[in-house]
Amino acid sequence: MKVNMVSAINSALNLTMQESEDVVLLGEDIARDGGVFRVTEGLLNKYGERRVIDTPLAESGILGAGIGMAMAGLHPVPEIQFAGFMFMGFGQLINHAARYRSRTRSTYKVPMVVRTPISGGVRTLEHHSDSPEAFYSHVGGLHVVVPSNPYDAKGMMIKSLHMQDPVVFLEPTKLYRLFKQEIPDEMYEVELGKANLVKEGTDLSIITYGTMVNQVTTVVEKRNLNADVLDLRTINPLDESAIIQSAKKTGKVLIVHEAPLGFGIGAEVAARIAEKAIFNLSAPIIRVGSDSFPYPFPGYENYYIPNTLKISKAIDRLLGA
């Protein structure tokens, strides 16, 4: 089938719900309304309100309920309407979802997939455009996933629902309907913790994920660069070996993400390269991210999100070094 990311995730949820009665969806406006982005559309009709649950408006309650449901044997998929609202349930994720397995030495586990839209570029109101992946990755215990295309979105969602761990599944709003891709109708898995080498080259490595994958490939194609483009896909746990392998091969590394630059994923990736491959490098590692301040109002977002020019200039610096 040729589908966009919304339909791909919907298909993954549908197939896993068909496969196991333990899979239950809950969240605000996900049932009758099909979710504000229509990701869960049609599932209420198919599975009923027992399994597709419209909840009261309470993010901490939704995530905490998910944790309880998971520990009691279900495999809940809570949806938080926008990542900016997930901070209201941050404590539940960090204090409990991330550590329940370790604090009970696997006596209790939290098989749960938290879905939420992230990132900007679609002119939404305040608090609807955050890229919070670093927050959830820092704690350990949570898988943090950011798909960049329909194929990965479906495969990683299915894989997430086949695991016995909590997964924070971050869906870039901008990519929901940006393009379609031919993907299998049936069930398939995309491993978590494995990056995807989108383009192969020898002159430089560009490490990126989420909304920036398309920006980066656009620049690479336009400039006809001989570059590795590595789509991380999973932020935590990081596919360090793929990163190091590419860095060692090209000796020049650019990291690009939409999340703010400071204390971000780029810093983590750069630090790992510095520790393991610094003597293979022929240029300093360069990071490109949004500027280090809170997400602006939509009128200003195009000045904030890294664009092709910003990425291109960073490549100039890297290649000129």
């Binding site: 309920a65 998910g66 309880g68 449901m69 009691a72 044997g73 009970t104 030495r105 913790g193």
Partner: protein, 351 residues
């Protein structure tokens, strides 16, 4: 709203309220468990003072709330505690050495045997309540008749998670019994300043939930209201406020003399839950000083054996790495290998 008391301070019962199916044998058993809980509480406190346990939150004075409610649970009912329900754990069959392992600072103390049907201690106040609600959700989903009993303190009723839980539970008619263990103090904050609400139980009213207040030092009264709430759980949730008193400090890191008077503490002494049950049993000729001496001796032995077990137990740092995920990701494995290869765990943390 009802305010229930069955067993008064003199050990007399209100026959009109006496719970159906409760016999003296069970009351005696509750007395034994309250005594065991108090003995264990004293033991952990003394271990902590000797540096053999970490910061500990004593339960002194709250035995009736915990034992009465735990005794009311059916075999398959599930409980979700905060960090003070040591008595509930005991009655539900938690091995004492595991309780001790937790308070000695080891996660292995949270490896709760399945038959206990309980979840581990939770420290962030009231954050356990949404879990209890989700667990109740799962019971309803699976069409089981299991009830979930969640514990929260008086301070916890000010938290958002508490209100979100009650609201959800009411909206979905979940089999959730919320027990507010109102011990009058949230560290240094007295009940009167925690909320302008006349009772804490009434917080259930806004959520459309049945609520009741009970004398939390009356083990029979607590048993009664919890039993009834569990029997009604299939039709929806109940909030129960057990009015008790924290006779001891918040935790071993706390000095209550800074914020409350001895006179206030003394005023609660005649209401002691164990003394009260003893007066009742004594009146029925079910208690004697000999019985007490023998029981205490037995309980001390059981506790000492558990302490010996817990202190003989050796931690394995490998376990920290092994249970973060369902498998060990490469990046974590590398940190683990590095620690092992370099004997990091043999190193000393300097002062």
């Amino acid at each position: 709203m009802d305010n229930i008391q069955v067993l008064d301070e003199n050990g007399s019962v209100d026959a009109s309220l006496f719970p159906e199916g409760l016999d003296d044998g069970k009351i005696l058993e509750m007395y034994r468990y309250m005594s065991l809980a108090r003995a264990l509480d004293n033991k952990i406190l003394s271990l902590q003072r000797q540096g053999r346990a970490v910061t500990y939150g004593p339960m002194l004075g709250e035995e009736a709330t915990q034992i009465g409610s735990a005794m009311a649970m059916r075999e398959n009912d599930i409980f979700v505690p905060n960090f003070r329900q040591h008595g509930v754990f005991l009655l539900r069959g938690m091995p004492i050495e595991l309780i001790l392992l937790y308070w000695k600072g080891y996660e292995e103390g949270c490896m709760i045997p399945e038959k206990v049907r309980g979840f581990p201690y939770i420290v962030p106040v009231a954050s356990q309540m949404p879990h209890a609600m989700g667990i109740a959700f799962a019971q309803k989903y699976k069409k089981s008749d299991v009830a979930v009993i969640g514990y929260v303190g008086d301070g916890g009723t000010s938290e958002g998670d508490f209100y979100e839980t009650l609201n959800f539970a009411g909206a979905f008619k979940l089999p959730l019994v919320t027990i507010i263990e109102n011990n009058q103090w949230a560290i240094s904050m007295p009940r009167a300043r925690q909320s302008a609400a006349e009772t804490l139980a009434q917080k259930g009213i806004a959520a459309g939930i049945k609520c009741v207040q009970v004398d939390g030092n009356d083990v029979i009264g607590v048993y009664k209201v919890v039993k009834e709430a569990i029997a009604n759980a299939k039709d929806g949730p109940t909030v129960i406020e057990c009015v008790t008193y924290r006779m001891s400090m918040h935790t071993t890191a706390d000095d209550p003399t800074k914020y409350r008077s001895q006179a206030e503490v003394d005023a609660w002494k005649p209401r002691d839950p164990i003394d009260r049950a003893r007066r009742y049993l004594s009146g029925k000729a079910l208690w004697s000083p000999d019985f007490e001496a023998k029981m205490q001796e037995e309980q001390a032995k059981v506790i000492d054996e558990a302490v010996a077990k817990a202190e003989a137990w050796k931690p394995d740092p490998k376990s920290i790495f092994e249970h973060v995920y369902s498998y060990m990701p490469e990046v974590l494995k590398e940190e683990y290998d590095e620690a092992v290869a370099n004997d990091f765990w043999q190193g000393e943390v300097s002062s």
